[in-house]
Amino acid sequence: MSIWLDIKYALRLLFNAPKFTAMTLGVLIGGLSISLFTFSFLYTSIYKPLPIPEGETAKALAVFEDGKYRYIRSFEYQAIKDNVASFAEFGVYDTGDMRINIKESGKSYYGSYVRAGFFEFSRIKPILGRTISENDTLVGAPAVAVISYEVWQSEYQGNENILTRSIKVDGINTDIIGVMPKDYRFPNMSKVWLPLLNSVLLESPQHSEYLYGYARLKAGVNIKDAEQELTQKINQIYQRNVKLFDLPKVEKHVKLLTFQMAQTGNDGAVAFAGLMTISFLILLLACINVGNLLLARSIERQKETAIRAALGAKTARLVSQLLWEGVIIASVGGLLSVLLVGAALDYTEVAIHSWLPGGGSFWWHYGMDGATLLMAVVFTLITILLSAFFPAWRSAHQDINSTLRDGTRGAQSKKAGRVSRILVTTQVFLVALLMLIGSITAFISHKFINLEMGDDYSNVMTARFSVPEKKYPEPQQQIALMQSLIAKLEQHPNLVGVINHNWIGASKVMLEGHEYLSEEDKLLIDVASLIGDSATVGVNLVAGRQFTHLDKSGNRKTAIISQSMAKRYWPGESPLEKSFTVNINDIDERVFIVGVVTNRMNASAMFGSRDSADEIYLSGLQFFDPYQILLYKTLPNTQQPEEIFYQAMFAIDRSIELTYSVQGASENRNKMRESMGLMSEITFGTGFFSLLLAMVGIYGLTANSVAQRTHEVGIRRAVGASDRDILRMFLKQGGKQLIIGLSLALLIFALISFGFHKFTEGIFPVYIYFSQALTVVFGLTVVVMLAIYLPSKKAVIMEPSMALRYE
């Protein structure tokens, strides 16, 4: 009965102060929604059980080699697959890009190479036909494929007779044996499944491949024991082969992860923890603000509380009385946040599916779920504890006597006033820092998105692939293969140019005639290998010549350098025919400069201007890497430009393994820019929201502390203070908090930007930092002063006799 009265009383208080209620709710919903959304998004992306039957027991295998994230090797799997005691199911698969040809046109799909047991592991049956069996993986068995519902629909319009059809997969006639149900993309985003042949497992350890492993534990076995068993078995089999096949010595360590975590390369935990911490801090900020607003209100009613206590109310009763206001606000806030987050998740689901036409990993299904609801309850409880219980408890434990003794609010409100002032100062500091760092981030992403790369990728296609080393073990054979591929491509009437271009990475360089006392003294310059004319990608010759077929092994080793390098090390003279030494694969190679080309953006120059770091190009005929990137330029308006490569490849050798679909060279870059843009938008959105949150917090705190002093304003005015005197008093106090907060923020910002400026070698001129700091100082000053001015004005307008009655 009494509780019901308390609730009614709290509701009346909230309804009587609609602005306060709205503001508190706003702050709370903001904080709760950000935390909840972050949790739900990350949980679905990383921790949630896979959306397949028995998904929670499906594990992916990670094999760390000396701490580096790797996978199981095929020979290791072959050796242990039948005698791992911990596993009920254990298998491997590989993924890759698959080219499906129907009549003339072709399409690339992401697919998997799998073995018998794979589909059973996912506990899902095909809607048509059968899945891959043991016989399909025998060497020499007829080629078969299982296709996804989406491929069946888009390529074959859902034709029921599909199982009698054969298609060309990677140029090979293949029988379709089954169709998987809608949305089935196991192990993550496969659309086509081919057999992983026995021959892959029987490969000698030297040529053995890394494969993705998956497993389910036997009932009663715990993960740690299983990891231990596997670690021991894999190390044992690997060490036995180290000497036999001259393999690198590494210590292996197995971990069983969720499929989602495995996809993030085990970094998901860090990202999860980091992002959760940030969003939790935002929730904390919201709680502190709400708590302080509620505390301010309970202090307003302190005298009433004291009277109730004097009349005999028990502490529990007083706490309950004060608590309900916070409980109601937190509960309503929690409820509204759940609705808001639900809508945001639905929107995310739609956005992701329109952004990624393939649908991404199959577990990326965002929406309100049980875990998120549970978290909402937990967060709401935390909020109640932090923002309602503590203030109520504190207020109920006040010194009744001192409150009742006199007409003043006494020491309690003074303490609360100090807390509130410290909070405002802290928030000014946080907001200022957030704004400053945010503006720098905005600048960086803007710079990146509009980065001039120094090349021209228009009408250029990229093909990334690796040369099959088993078939072409000798570098000369590999080069020959590459040359014939290039020659084949050049036959196409629409082809403008083709180059083979590979970043080797930053390498140690010693110039002729210089002493290098230690390794650190040597220059570190980005090196790439090149076959063909670099003008194909817009890197133009300014002096000397391009590489020719004569720059091959056996002949003098040659190099082309960037303009910036020529200027830096041979100022005022021609670098042509000068020589230097570059360390490639631990061998110091002496090379002679034969050409100079325009500058490009490279990895070392990412933060600097284009000429801040140099490039060295070596002849691809002299320095060859089996992993290759081929770039070719076509005439504008060429239809299906990727088909040019596929045709050439199928004509030369089908066994070339594409690592990615052939695509526009700028596509990857655009995707990167797009995702960068999205990332910065998300950071910005969250940053902006927390900014808004803190602003509302600052406004609420200031307005409340001004309102609390209405009575004092009345007294001051009664004894002769003018409006200006009063405003000045408040502004002075607010100004102090502003100055402390801003100076701290500026100090830290100065340190950060100084470090950043040095690190980036002055990518932004110094005045940018100053103007950013100035803008932030100005903007924040205006906001804080307004937050003080508006409520002060209201307190001043009141007739003194009214203000004096204000308790």
Binding site: G410, S413, K414, G720, S722, D723, E799, P800
Partner: protein, 244 residues
Amino acid sequence: MKALLKLNDVSKTFLTEDIETKAINDISLEINKGEYVALSGQSGCGKSTLLSLLGLLDSPTAGQYWLADNDISSLSRNQRAEIRSKEIGFVFQSFNLISDLTVLENVMLPLTYQSGLSKAVIENRAKVVLEKVEMGHRKNHFPSQLSGGQQQRVAVARALVNEPKIILADEPTGNLDSKNAESVLQLFEQLHREGATICMVTHDPASAKRASRCLEMFDGRLIKDSINSTIKNNAVSTLEVAAG
């Protein structure tokens, strides 16, 4: 002699949630310079409201109010603030000391809102009036550390510190024992002799008798106005009391 303040058909109506309270009902009144007026009447009859109108803490809902020939309604907010700080000393029924300021700072407050006074001067004058009310020894205490009577004396000191022409006191002796009450009344009499105009609300007939003029209110109206001929008055008042 000219009237120092003059009310003409002044009314004050409070509107709270559809209930109209006519706290002051058509009062016309003149108080001359140098008069010592005692205002009495039963609780809730409008004494405090009248006093806050006189002290420019509130404005009437109807009627005119002249203070030293100025029509109050024509004064700006700043001008009114200036009059409050220079000409008026107000003792509140509920003291109204600022809890975050010490006794001395509370007393100094009115002077800090006048321009051209140095801090030393302000502090000195505050100390002098504090001695007058025998609160000098408590000047560094906070209000919450004082008894009710002590707070009242500080409130009186604050009202006197700016040497006001008019002192408006709302039951200044309500919380005091007879000895302290006597010293406050003597202080008022001394100020009165020095030429100050005083208007004091009191329930105590004995205190009222020491004033030169007694007003009585009932339900928002003045019902009685009498001159105490035994008190030597600095001014001869012309009485004009509107018929209740």
